[in-house]
Structures are given as C-alpha cells and as structure tokens.
C-alpha cells in the first residue's frame, strides 16, 4: 500500500508527542529507516496504491520519495544533536519533524489536486513550529513571516483550484481532479481561460519553503532539512503543473 509511506511517519509523529524523550529519538531513526525501506519498495514498484485516483502510479514520483528518504538520514544526525542540546520541547520538535516528513512525502505522492493542496498546507503548518524552536526574537519573526506568506499563498492556491473546478463545470468535463484525467483539460482550457489563471495562481503563490531566514532561524536539523527538501518536494509538483500549461 503506497499510502503507508506517509501514514507511517504521521502515526509515529503523533506518538512522538507523548513518548519519553529518549524513546522519541529512537522512534525518529526507526521511522527514517522504515520510510527508506518503503520508498525503496515504491521505487521497485512493489507497492500499489489503495486509492489509485488520488495517488499516482508508483515510479513516477518514487525518485523524489527516495530522495526524501535519503535526506531523512538527517534523522541519525538529529538524534545526536538532540542528545547534545537539551531542548525544552524536544517531543514537539521530534513530533513535528516526523509530521513534516509525512506531509512532504504526501506532496510528492498525491496526484489529486485537492489532496496536493491539503498536503502542501499541512507541510507549511508542520514546518512552522520547527522554525520557532529557538524561541528567540529572530526565530519568532521568521516564523511569523513564514506562516503569513505561506498561508496567503496557499489560500490563493485554493482559490485557483476553485476556478479550476468552475472551468471544468462550465466546460462540462466530468473527470476527476487528478493529474492523469487532466489531459482532457486543454479543451476546457481553450473554452474557458480560467484554467491557466488557476495554475498560474498555484505557481506564483507556491509556499516559500526556501525562504532563507526561515531555516536560518531554525535548529540545525531543520536548517539542513528545509532548504534541501523544499526543492525536492516542489520540483515534481511544479513539473507536473508545467506539463499541463
């Protein structure tokens, strides 16, 4: 089941909030390893989606999922970092780190436009508390600006998606809102120009996960994860969107 790749870190992320510190550190590495194995299985197309309309055929996005797994070896570094720096809210940090991994994996795997939107929004929300863990004035400022920029961007993306469904309704297209049936959309697009506007609003206002101050104000593991993973996650999404423009 392809969904396991993002469900596993999601569940362990929720568990990390309530487990003792030492156990949550081990859980971080364990989840990283499980995620790596599942991503490799996905790469080998050994996993099939439970919801094929929402998740794409494995293999197309498996490379980015594999990248995510490789980058998540940061988890091993994170455990050492957490042991050296006694964080006040270590459970919160570990929990959100795992949720961040889960939502980012969901972004790379989702093929339904609204599921993609939900995953992007969830990624923004999961990464915001990670930026704030220093609890300094600069990290507070970075978090505030990051949350505001990303939230407004993602709100515009929701509006763009609405225009997309409207153009489908006006064009009489009954296909699902996922990327493969979107190949029918050029017909709708020619008749109703709003599709292009919808995609452009996605493109123009995509969350600025790579905003340098956001990750510079964050803790080291997040500082290494965010700029590295942002393009990995955004890349396939943008490629998919551009292919239809």
């Amino acid at each position: 089941m392809v969904e396991l790749v993002f469900i596993t870190p999601f569940v362990t992320g929720l568990l990390a909030f309530v487990l003792p510190k030492a156990l949550s550190r081990q859980l971080l590495v364990f989840t990283g390893a499980v995620h790596l194995v599942l991503s490799l299985l996905l790469w080998k197309t050994a996993l099939r989606p439970f919801l094929p309309n929402i998740l794409p055929c494995p293999g197309r996005t498996a490379v980015s999922s594999g990248d995510l797994a490789a980058v998540f070896l940061i988890a091993i570094y994170t455990t050492g970092y957490l042991a050296a720096h006694q964080l006040k809210s270590e459970n919160v940090f570990t929990g959100f780190m795992l949720l961040f991994l889960s939502t980012m994996t969901m972004v790379t795997l989702s093929d339904h436009i609204m599921v993609l939107w939900i995953a992007i929004e969830a990624t923004t929300l999961a990464s915001a508390p990670l930026i704030f863990t220093h609890r300094s004035g600069a990290s507070l400022e970075a978090t505030w600006k990051y949350v505001l920029i990303c939230s407004v961007g993602i709100a515009m993306a929701l509006l763009g998606s609405l225009f997309l469904t409207l153009s489908m309704e006006l064009g009489g297209v009954t296909a699902a809102l996922s990327f493969p049936p979107c190949r029918l959309w050029p017909v709708t697009w020619i008749r109703h120009g709003s599709k292009r506007d919808s995609f452009l609003s996605w493109w123009d206002t995509a969350p600025r996960w790579g905003w340098p101050h956001a990750y510079l104000a964050a803790r080291c593991p997040q500082r290494s994860a965010q700029p590295g993973l942002g393009p990995v996650v955004r890349g396939p999404v943008e490629l998919r969107l551009f292919r239809h423009l």
């Binding site: 939900i118 929004e121 929300l125 709100a155 409207l166 489908m168």
Partner: protein
Amino acid sequence: MGYHASLFSGLGLIVAAAVISRYLNIPAISDSALLFPAAISLLVTGMFLLMARRNAIAMVIGYIMLENGIYLTGTTFSTQARHIVEFGILLDVLAGVMIMAIILQNIKQTFDDVDTSLLRTLKE
C-alpha cells in the same frame, strides 16, 4: 496607511467588487445578486487589511476575512468543490489560525506589543 484612507479604500474596493460582479454572468449565482459582490468584497478587503495594517491581530483578522471570501466564492461558484472548500477552510482556519495565535502570544511576550513593525531584523 491611516484609518480614514483605509476606510475610503475599503469602500472603493466594495464598490469595485459590486461593479465587476455585474459584468460576470455566472449561472450558479444568478438567483442572489449580492452573493458574488459580497464574496469578492471579503476577499479583496481581507487582502487589503493584510497589506495595510501593522498590528498582528488585524493581520490575522484580514487573513480570516480572506478565507471567508474564498469560502463564499467556492460555495457559490462551484457545486462540485463544496466539500473540498469546506475541508480546505477547516484546515486553514483551525490549524493555521491556531498556530498564528500561538505565535501572536509569543510576539506579545517577547516584544511586549503585537506591532509587526518591531519585526524588522530579517531582511532579504
């Protein structure tokens, strides 16, 4: 921007939204003439509030107005996307605004004010 200028700008935006909506012929909203102008007004005034105010609470209110505008637009425009909009707004407002509220509380504790002009140390 000052309060009087903001009020006049807001009025101007509402009038512009009412004028623009007259020229758009959308069958789904032909029954209620005020629905679409209200949605567009909420959207643009929310955006305006976000850009024109420095107070963090006013900015959060602007964001909620923007979300309300999107919700109203979505539910009036499209019959297919209603449940999607409901879910999207639920996630945005519930989680997003909760996180914003936590950050606001911390801004108040750290800077003793919620004026975002104090948050100017990080620049591109």
